[in-house]
């Protein structure tokens, strides 16, 4: 006898009905990153050797700040989805796998937040 209900016993055992979500998010972020990265690398080339004030003036424009934030979010989302697959492929011990997945997710979140907040602080402080 178990205190668990029949529903609780079967819940989570079947398909999660989200089989394509990971694949789809990875492709969408990939497509978004193509123009964002072309723009970003071209801007970096144009700013080779730029000083502090030039760089801040560049980041401080609303269009650039917006695109940078989109770039950061798409990059870290895409990076997490990719690293997740790598970990799931090579790390088979359950505790290690969950641990490294959470660690990578946390690292991506912290880095993405740092990047976005840096852009916003430059934007609002001018």
């Amino acid at each position: 006898m178990s205190l668990q209900s029949h529903l609780a016993r079967v819940r989570g055992l079947g398909s999660a009905k989200a089989g394509t979500a990971h694949w789809w998010s990875q492709r969408l972020t990939a497509i978004a990153l193509v123009p964002l990265l072309v723009w970003f690398v071209a801007s970096l080339i144009g700013m080779a050797g730029a000083d502090y004030y030039t760089m801040r003036a560049w980041v401080g424009s609303p269009v650039v700040a917006g695109l940078l934030i989109l770039l950061i979010v798409a990059t870290f989302y895409h990076a997490y989805l990719g690293l997740q697959v790598i970990i799931e492929d090579y790390v088979h011990r359950e505790a290690c796998k969950i641990g490294s997945l959470l660690l990578v997710k946390a690292a991506c979140l912290v880095l993405a937040m740092t990047g976005v907040l840096s852009v916003l602080s430059i934007l609002f402080k001018g």
Binding site: I86, T114, S118
Partner: protein
């Protein structure tokens, strides 16, 4: 889990590396490298947000030999992952699966990576010297 000793597939040691398999694993390797490389981007932005001094030292680091080497490696990885990623998107759309096409697009990715990386650095240095 009795995992540990189960055989791995494919048996990497009996295969001769081919363009297709090498480019495939390179996509994963450059992806992981780029994930680490995001540290450079965040460092640069955070330094700019922190003030003149932090930004100067960041620029000093990126301008040093080691910094330039890191950025060069980052640019190769980025252009490779970008070009090969577009190749993957074509496959996702169901295009280019015939073996000759797979090899053609593979070489195209290799050449595009080289050309884009060289162009980036040549133009970058021209901009830098003329600034």
């Amino acid at each position: 889990m009795q995992g540990e000793n189960r055989p791995l597939s494919p048996h990497l040691q009996v295969y001769r590396p081919q363009l297709t398999s090498s480019l495939s694993i390179l996509h994963r390797i450059t992806g992981a490298a780029l994930a680490v490389g995001t540290l450079l981007l965040v460092y640069w932005l955070a330094a700019a947000a922190s003030g003149t001094e932090a930004f100067e030292s960041a620029q000093g680091f990126f301008g040093s030999f080691f910094g330039q080497l890191l950025l060069f490696g980052w640019s190769i990885a980025l252009f490779y992952h970008l070009c090969n990623g577009i190749r993957h998107l074509f496959w996702d759309a169901g295009l280019g699966f015939e073996l000759p096409e797979v090899y053609r697009s593979g070489w195209a990715v290799v050449i595009a990576t080289g050309v884009l990386t060289l162009l980036t650095w040549i133009i970058g240095y021209i901009v830098y010297w003329s600034a």
